[in-house]
Symmetry: C2
Subunit: 458 residues, 2 copies
């Protein structure tokens, strides 16, 4: 581990933090069209900083929706090539009233930096750029070849980057991909994620009567779109969280005995998890499965949002004509998104109440990849992570979805190192999202160290 | 039937319509606080027109929410007193984009006047005022004593008028109440409603996790507030519309054999009702009960609106912390609102999913009264209605709620004549609400004729 890198990072901490704050002030909310220019600005910010760190061939690539950013540095002859990916778009900040400080005014508090996107993913992806800068400044060169691909649609399905990867396998050719968009198992514990869940995200719209009807005059004879939707959704899983959609578990494989054994060793306090992370009266989910299995290795059905009828203040006695829900199924490795979509569509047809018509619209769809732990780069990554944090690296899975990992596997034929510096309580997608400031700096050190070691080992 | 009244109404039709349009232009939406001054303006409009029609002691009575209007004319010595009730508030007009012409710009089309509140209830209640005017102008006096009580909270539960009736039985003492806020069974068919459904309107709020959570990281272990609410609501009634809340049918009585026989005689085309009124793929409701029984004599459970989680455009993968639904139960005669509320609260407790907390808030509550058809005023009303429209008057029920009828019964001890001139396709509470212009004028004639006959018979 290079002490020069450590010294460089330490002496530049204040500037690194200021630059990240500037990045976080850009409200690059990819799902809201009124923020499209902000997402473009975030791309320009990243491109400028890549060039400043010495990367070459910096491009902002326009797409049908949000731009991509590409850059490379390919002068490490004979050394491997790492494709570094990250995303500069963020989730919407609502509900706004639950934020203690404004989501786009980064605020330091208790050793953390609070802002939308601080952990997911601006803070983590910006660590890559600062690692390049540190290596260039200290060594005058980079120890491996680097390609960088950043996107602005990760939170809305990532269609543009998926298409770009599929269409540019030569340009993006690399030995391994590196993504920092995951979390450490607990503070101070180096963690590499080797399994992810995929995602099938849908809108289901219900139409009942042709127009809203007076519930006094028609109640008892007219179908209610909200209730029709409620009836359908309630049948998708039982009270124990076991999915009731026929065929949904057909290809689900249990984790290996080795994985189960290692998960059993991970420190986990269910009462604390409930109290400090979930904050409800009890956990839910399938009996007979551990929390790790339920969140890492089992498919789930969630309703993300629902709207229909009168929801203003006071009372309005309508039978609503329309209702819509946003739902998703998290897919585990070996579940085929197309087969699961077909199963959902059949389930909807088979469970359509009298008088209701449903429309199902797929907003995004991608499988849940498993990562090969035997790749030399992953072994080097585990060692570099251990070296900086002073503890053995653990291998876990994540219940979340990083669709790009599947794209890199299928179109480039490479594994992805998921080396993330987030923490379990970072509040991704929630109010008061934060990123630990120490982890931001240590992440930069770990990444630089990984590049050094991976170059040296080759 | 006085030909002089008919002539007076006929020669004033244009002005009567213009005045009603002026009334309808006031957006007196009682549930929206930003329209409070409009609701006050509607009260002032009605008060001014009552005074112009010769009513005395006109008062605008301020309450905690929206004002009441009182007026009287008590110079028909030895004659009975009729308490005329109506409401000048209206439902919100949303969804606005479904209106063909603006909701608060009354527009004549196909013999109808389109505007929010045209039928419910401004058009009907204004008929009373024009009937007083016609009688005063033609006869120089009124044939009975009149008390008028108007409210601006009917669409939000009517708490102020209920309190006022309870507190002022002497002031409001009368022989019979008269309300025009119902519909004729079909165009041209004089109809008196003798039974109503009551209403228990509630908000049910679900809290799951303490904050919105990332569905990838926590899906499978954390409770989902929207799904918890969906689970609860889905258990409230089965696929046939039969309520599943224990005890809910305990005091429900079937309609009498006479009622069922008379309902069987009413012209009713279920296919046309489905196509032109409901507009869905099929009707719903309890097997073995006619549409009349289902909508007039059976309790119902409806979800009027639901909201929770992310409902903007695109995809957000949260497990929502909160969700809320507006629901109601329509109560039939002899169901006690307090007992039903207790049954609902127990049902909610007994069906609370793991990890979810529910809060039930009652927004309004009132029983479903039956009206005594043997009262002499009701017989006179039936005859007056028949005389003007040239057909026998039918006795029906309505599935809607008019809480004031129960208040008049319990606090004043008087029955209420429900003499309404709306039509089944008026679109109450829906976009494109309308009132038939011919019915507006014939309603004025019928009301004046009723007052004449009731005075003459006493």
């Amino acid at each position: 581990m290079s002490q020069k890198i450590d010294a460089y990072v330490q002496s530049n901490e204040a500037r690194f933090l200021d630059e990240l704050k500037e990045f976080l002030r850009i409200p690059s909310i990819s799902t809201l069209p009124e923020h499209n220019t902000d997402t473009q600005r975030a791309a320009e910010f990243a491109a400028t900083k890549l060039a400043a760190a010495g990367l070459e061939n910096v491009e902002i690539i326009q797409t049908e929706r949000h731009p991509l950013v590409y850059a490379d540095w390919l002068h490490a002859a004979g050394k491997p090539t790492v494709l570094c990916y990250g995303h500069f778009d963020v989730q919407p900040p609502d509900p706004l009233d639950l934020w203690e400080t404004p989501p786009f005014e980064p605020t330091e508090r208790n050793g953390n930096l609070y802002a939308r996107g601080s952990a997911d993913d601006k803070g983590q992806m910006y660590s890559h750029i600062k690692a390049f800068e540190a290596l260039r400044d200290v060594h005058g060169t980079l120890p491996v070849n680097i390609k960088v691909l950043l996107e602005g649609e990760e939170e809305v399905g990532g269609l543009s980057v998926a298409a770009y990867v599929a269409q540019n396998p030569q340009k993006l050719h690399a030995d391994v991909a590196l993504v920092s968009d995951t979390e450490m198992y607990e503070p101070g514990m180096p963690t590499l994620n080797v399994g992810l869940r995929g995602l099938l995200y849908m809108e289901i719209e219900a139409q009942g009567p042709a127009r809203d009807l007076h519930s006094g005059l028609y109640g008892g004879a007219a179908p209610n779109a909200v209730f029709g939707l409620v009836e359908l959704l309630s049948k998708a899983k039982d009270a124990d969280g076991h999915l009731q959609i026929p065929g949904i578990y057909d290809t689900v494989e249990p984790p290996s005995a080795d994985e189960k054994a290692s998960w059993a060793q991970l420190p986990f306090n269910e009462a604390e998890y409930l109290a400090s992370e979930v904050g409800s009266t009890s956990l839910t989910g399938e009996p007979g499965y551990s929390v790790f299995e339920r969140t890492w290795a089992r498919p789930t059905f969630e309703v993300h949002g629902i709207a229909g009828g009168f929801t203003g203040s006071g009372a309005k006695t309508v039978i609503p004509a329309k209702a819509v829900a946003k739902v998703s199924i998290r897919l585990v490795p070996r579940q085929d998104p197309a087969a699961i979509e077909a199963a959902v569509r059949k389930f909807v047809v088979d469970n359509t109440p009298k008088g209701i018509r449903f429309e199902v619209r797929v907003l995004s769809s991608g499988p849940g990849p498993m990562v090969n732990t035997d790749h030399p780069a992953i072994r080097v990554a585990a060692k570099a992570f251990s070296d900086v944090f002073g503890k053995p690296t653990v291998f876990t899975r994540s219940g979340g979805s990083i669709p790009i990992v599947g794209d890199f596997a299928s179109h480039l034929g490479i594994p992805t190192i998921l080396m993330g510096f987030g923490l379990p309580d970072d509040g991704l997608h929630s109010p008061n999202e934060k990123y630990n400031i120490r982890n931001y700096f240590d992440g930069i050190r770990t990444l630089a160290h990984f590049f050094e070691e991976y170059g040296a080992a080759s």
